[in-house]
């Protein structure tokens, strides 16, 4: 008897290659790549998940307007049950992610794991690094305290000095008024919508390529004619 999928012509595996993807993901990792240095990408993912969870919780209370942003952060920090802990974990996660990403990049660079056929995996990783840095820069403004605003004015001043595109960039990021309401809203939208979407897309591409191409073999010589 034909299965429901056959009868309704809905066979997700034919279209999405789910079985193949799962099979690739479950392939055993080579002995050479079982050390702690090869687990830093996974730990970065774990921290990213923690950031998503704590960030989602913080968005329940954060108000992205210039007159209420500060008081909403203050409420989370001082009055909400365990709010201080959630906010602290979110801030600590940024530090841990910075450490794991940097050490991961150093490991990949030191072992030349970016060599053929993993060039695109490396580029996706560099774009993930840029995205992570953008998370920090946009998140820094959200508490709307004096340090955050002064810092934003400082960065806007630097951007404005870039030849040709500087003023346009400042206008795009600030809405024409450095440290004003438009900039707060734009930073907020970037921090909770645009950058997470970019991060997830880049991460999935990075992971897919890493698993499809397998872990590089330390000490190997790759001259572009093998798929190891």
């Amino acid at each position: 008897m034909a299965s429901l999928g056959d009868r309704t012509l809905i066979r997700p595996d034919d279209r999405l290659g789910v079985r193949e993807g799962v099979a690739r993901s479950l392939r055993p990792v080579p002995d050479d790549a079982r050390g702690v240095w090869y687990g830093l990408g996974g730990l970065t993912v774990f921290v990213a998940l923690m950031q998503a969870l704590t960030g989602a919780y913080l968005t329940l209370y954060y108000v992205p307007t210039s007159d209420r942003a500060y008081s909403s952060v203050s409420y989370v920090t001082n009055y909400l049950h365990y709010g201080w802990l959630v906010r602290s974990i979110h801030a600590s996660g940024a530090q841990l992610m910075a450490v794991f990403i940097v050490v991961h990049v150093v490991r990949v660079y030191a072992s030349a794991s970016y060599a053929h056929p993993r060039e695109l995996t490396w580029i996706a990783g560099v774009l993930l690094l840029v995205t992570a840095m953008s998370f920090v820069l946009t998140g820094d403004l959200l508490p709307w305290d004096q340090r955050a605003v002064s810092s934003t004015i400082f960065i806007s001043g630097l951007l404005g000095q870039v030849p040709v595109v500087g003023h346009a960039l400042v206008r795009l990021l600030t809405g024409g008024a450095p440290a004003g309401e438009p900039m707060l809203l734009r930073s907020y939208v970037a921090h909770v919508v645009l950058l997470p979407a970019a991060f997830v897309g880049l991460f999935l591409a990075h992971l897919w390529m890493a698993r499809t191409q397998d872990v590089s073999q330390p000490g190997a010589v790759d001259r572009g004619n093998d798929a190891s």
């Binding site: 099979a23 600590s92 500087g166």
Partner: protein, 183 residues
Amino acid sequence: MADPMTLAERPVANVDARSARGEFAAPVDEDLGAERPDTVDRRAEVLGADDARRATDADSTTTASHSTDILISQATAVLLVLCAYLVLAILLPPHLGPKASATAASADVRPAWYLLPLYGYARLVPPALAILSPVAFLVVLGAVPFIDRAGVRTPAGRAAALALGVALAVGLVLLAVIGTRAV
């Protein structure tokens, strides 16, 4: 088909090497279970029954034992990260300064410690360069696989690249120190 008597005399390591090169690669859905009878049969066509069974047993044993090791090491790593979270959250909670005000004096704009090298650099060079050169650095970083085409992965074979990396790390630390002292 290969001669089973000849192949049966070969050592298992040789069989594993051929397996690693994908000579016995089955369709991906069959890779999930190396112990499956149809996989053994396929190997047997090439290797002979005895070697095929020995190679399959070796694959299964390796995977099973290391899966447990990996699970334990990953769980340990996650626990350590959770401990780091707690230590950082309690000892270094995020600061919330006075509310932003248009009339207030500019506050200390030094960023978090992991951005101090960038801040130190921005204090050293003209503003435009403070933005453009980190962007250029990231572009060059992304192009590293196309710059380094040698494909050598041993440390001894890429001393210049490693020396460049160490010099860069030292430079970033120095810039971080400058960033710490700058106001």
